[in-house]
Symmetry: D2
Subunit: 377 residues, 4 copies
Amino acid sequence: MAKSAAKKKTPAKKKGGAGDDITYKSYLQLPALLDAQHPISDVGGGRHAHDEMMFIVVHQTYELWFKLVLFELDRIQSVFGKRVVADADMRVVSASLTRIVDILKLLVRQLDIMETMTPLDFLDFRHVFRSASGFQSMQFRELEVRLGLRRDDRIGYNGQSFENYLAADDRAALHAAMKKPALIDQLDKWLSRTPFVEMSGFSFWKSYRKAVADMIEGDRDTVRKSRKMTAQARKMELEKLDNMGAQFALLFDEKEGEARHWRFSQEALQAALLINLYRDQPALQLPFRILNDLMDMDELLALWRYRHALMAQRMLGTKMGSGGSTGHDYLAATASKHRIFKDLFMLSTFLIPRSKLPKLPRNVRDKMGFRYWDKAE
Amino acid sequence: MAKSAAKKKTPAKKKGGAGDDITYKSYLQLPALLDAQHPISDVGGGRHAHDEMMFIVVHQTYELWFKLVLFELDRIQSVFGKRVVADADMRVVSASLTRIVDILKLLVRQLDIMETMTPLDFLDFRHVFRSASGFQSMQFRELEVRLGLRRDDRIGYNGQSFENYLAADDRAALHAAMKKPALIDQLDKWLSRTPFVEMSGFSFWKSYRKAVADMIEGDRDTVRKSRKMTAQARKMELEKLDNMGAQFALLFDEKEGEARHWRFSQEALQAALLINLYRDQPALQLPFRILNDLMDMDELLALWRYRHALMAQRMLGTKMGSGGSTGHDYLAATASKHRIFKDLFMLSTFLIPRSKLPKLPRNVRDKMGFRYWDKAE
Amino acid sequence: MAKSAAKKKTPAKKKGGAGDDITYKSYLQLPALLDAQHPISDVGGGRHAHDEMMFIVVHQTYELWFKLVLFELDRIQSVFGKRVVADADMRVVSASLTRIVDILKLLVRQLDIMETMTPLDFLDFRHVFRSASGFQSMQFRELEVRLGLRRDDRIGYNGQSFENYLAADDRAALHAAMKKPALIDQLDKWLSRTPFVEMSGFSFWKSYRKAVADMIEGDRDTVRKSRKMTAQARKMELEKLDNMGAQFALLFDEKEGEARHWRFSQEALQAALLINLYRDQPALQLPFRILNDLMDMDELLALWRYRHALMAQRMLGTKMGSGGSTGHDYLAATASKHRIFKDLFMLSTFLIPRSKLPKLPRNVRDKMGFRYWDKAE
Amino acid sequence: MAKSAAKKKTPAKKKGGAGDDITYKSYLQLPALLDAQHPISDVGGGRHAHDEMMFIVVHQTYELWFKLVLFELDRIQSVFGKRVVADADMRVVSASLTRIVDILKLLVRQLDIMETMTPLDFLDFRHVFRSASGFQSMQFRELEVRLGLRRDDRIGYNGQSFENYLAADDRAALHAAMKKPALIDQLDKWLSRTPFVEMSGFSFWKSYRKAVADMIEGDRDTVRKSRKMTAQARKMELEKLDNMGAQFALLFDEKEGEARHWRFSQEALQAALLINLYRDQPALQLPFRILNDLMDMDELLALWRYRHALMAQRMLGTKMGSGGSTGHDYLAATASKHRIFKDLFMLSTFLIPRSKLPKLPRNVRDKMGFRYWDKAE
């Protein structure tokens, strides 16, 4: 209702047009904003529960921040959605990502306020929610979907999909969002187009595979020739090197579909590795920063879920003995399972020391630099 | 308007009554809340300024937190407004104060988000505000007034009272608030009633004054008798002790009105000092905590103003050469001038070492304890 | 060596005695402190790894904070170790606990600095540690032991006890610490002595059990009589109430030893529940705060472990496919398993609404109050 | 002494060489580190002051962080000290700056721990310092000097230079530091070399001055022609535009020496403005980030000083009546006066809206881009 009224009167437009009557209050729509807190513990003869106001305000600020996060994500996705991403647009992507990361830090921190409430205070009004729950935050669900959390990645709650807890229109809106490319898919495409992976006769992947093979073979050789080692120690060291080789085999294996160990395509993986390894080259500095920010974001989302889980345990206790998972258990499980950009973390396993790193050919390195060094005009 | 509409339909009541239709969305009034962000930079053919949305959301979350701070202040003031404050109510006062302190920490921290905007981004839309400004935040003004900031304590802006920047109805609302007792006045009354200052024949003030006099006289004596000191050093040390004596004279001086050096009444000052000095006694533990939280609050408000001033300087620059004070200058000045509970800080000057502290008589100390230790039932 | 040298020269004593030569530098022992950072990546012809200095400083500040945490724990344990804990000492316990909580918040936050290092930067020097690891932080192990983490509660790492990673003297020191009463044991004893659980003819436990029985029976009755419910819904609701009853049975069950569901003794549990339910009474205000701070502490330790786990994953990647647990897996598991004060969280399950709460008899409530209200002197 | 001993024994080298005996404890030099806390309140029969340990640990962690800040500054200054700064080195500068900013945030935050001490607790041991004071922190002085705080910029304390409070060798060390180029000087030189200010026939400064003149003249014209304005309003608006013009005149004025309004050279100013205005161009993205981080750093140092000032006031009180500046007053004054990169903040005054911004010629914009777009190989 508030929405349609707003639309009919188009207050913003009118104000923006007229201009002279803009005040702090009207600009921020404070009358609507500050009238949207309605504790219900004392409705219908119930007992007034002081902390309900805090509970409402904390949740409302979360929703406002989610709105902003989604707004920044709009900008990021609109850049990554283009067929060619202009270098000049990268600063804007980076600025929006950094802002999202800063907001997520605040969201983790903000639970401090919620925890000024004690479990007994919460008991005073938690019955009023009945089946209502943070579970139903559409903006958070939209965020998950748009970042790339897929239906099959999700843990069920009480054996049911979270979708069962949503109203029909919300469910439909979410399904629509699921049909659009998620950020991780856009990122995959953008990474896959990175020109430097194959350029001017240089194949990054071939050089990198050779460097890895040489490194492992060199280590194996050192172990075999070492005179100080006992036979037992030598055996163990060689086993370790075998394991390392097996890990790398999973990286080089280009299986597709179900059998694939990675969410990223092989092309995107290679580019992400290249960006990590040669991040100092001018053309890779910002892409590197962006991958880094994505890891920050993923980590902060996990941290927020985990802290949320701890708070749930504190407020609601924990079922004892056998049977039934609790809100705490569910939330703690999502912290480790609902990770979207995990491939970026896994890549750390495959970094190789700078001393073993294939050197970029001069002409490739040049192409990663700026034109202003060119002599001729 | 939004307000009256809400009242007519009493949505909360209806929902609360029926119960079964409460959802996360309706409970938090998300349709109204999330429809209250209307950037105007692109209204009427203007250029879309991406960061305006962030600017709006940050300010709106500030206003939501201010609402909560005022709500907690309601509870504190309603306890302190009673003729007799029950000991059992002190936990509640302390809980609300601690919550306010935690919120203020968040508000300082939250400027991090604002500073993800660069000055050039701000330039894109700052013209749309015209005369609208954070200056007009009624909730913040109400907070200042209710804590105890008086009209005469305030620094003018551009030679005008801040009231000139308010709409007539806001001004009237503020004047009404000014007529009610502020928190600092209520605190003064509550402190003044502390029974332990004069109890069972013990006069805290007399004992304390004697301890101070003895301490200074003892130090003077030591200096006079010291053989190691040069005449020059002795003179300097004696001057320092004179200065210390002069400071204490200002504490003992019971002048009233304009001439008074303190905002607190003499009775309140004495009680506050007693609470600080004997804070380990059971009956003083919570009062001590409350005085401490009030200092936290005062400090955090100053810190928030100062950080706000730094941000204003960054966004708007600073006028060079002569003439005209800037937003930065004004905000930085309020950080040091708009302090309300400064007396509590000044008291630190008058603490005396535990070794010089008058011992509480046994019967007074007993009265500060719990009854459960009593043998007889 | 540094230690024995320090002891021989007793620099502090000498300085403290002489006094006049105390400077900022000597007081803080800056020459020793600032000479204790020795990166080794470039020793013996290795390549200089810039981030190693950061790595050292971050760990050293952690160890300094751990020292302070243990120092505050000394004070807390010395108070709780007394046969009778004086009410006046409770402020000191609370102050030390609050300080520990604040330090732990900083320690979680401080990982931000560590994460300014990228995995590739870490790769530059992580080989220098060989088997050295944070695992060997004796102060952290001592903290765990002294709070009350028992050997059998611990998760093994690579199938081995963490003790196998320690030097012999460290292991011995830890064994000695294990023989002393841990904080949780002292707390149990202190809670068990709470006088109000049985006082002046009032039995809290009896009243509480009756209130619980009445509450469940009342709900059962409402369900049975409800005409709106389908038979199916009624069955589900009754099952829920049965589950609730089964939960409470675990609380009332006073089994001992292995079969016991709680770490706390039955007496301590009852007192902790009483403190939570009647926290507004003057004599319970500080005990309530202390229980609350212990939960904060437990939660922050879990959060720190979890964030540490996320960082390990980022820096080291994650093994793919089958086999072998990683540092990340181990750390994440300790976050949920190495909880010490979990009983305090479980108690939230057993709070009952204020409206159902047994009223304290007047004479019991009086005993929880201060003596200064007494008329007679 | 500790230092020379360390050098003689070269413990790091030995350890690094042998390798197998590296443990967590030896690597972090924990024996020395954890033996460097020597409270002196109880030396020579004094009374044990519990909070002295916290006081020592907080200061020691500050000094460790300062050491790291200086270490990062080494790297930054060594890059900027080069005759030509390679683009590939810019990531490293940015990484070190970001780390410094993150550390400074922690340092502001860390005062939370110090404030768990109450003034009365501080009184228990503050006499032991005599003239020792944080004033004597050489690392902090070195930081100020190396960033670019000049002797003449400093506020005196009690009418004396801070140098009078230092030991002779420290003073000498600081004087040596003063003779080397400070970061701000290096930055000035680096900015002054920015090629894009004059390139391929494009003069940024000429275009910018013209844009400013056109903008002001256009506004003046609008005001003059406006029919809605009263004569009074018109006069006021024209005066505002005159003021704006006068501000810009100070920017265009190329006076040197004492008369100059800026610390930056004219060349550096122009480049800094260009970087701010065209920051989206690939070659300017990282320089823009670096200028931004420098502002963060400057702001955080000011915030830290200010929070420090508030803490001093809380701990020590404040002199009343006339005469004598306090630690609080001094610290608060340094917060606003000891700003080093203020010119960067002042530049915000001179940003002009994107719509008025001179367009970069195609060939100049091209030069700010990467070579990899070039068709020919």
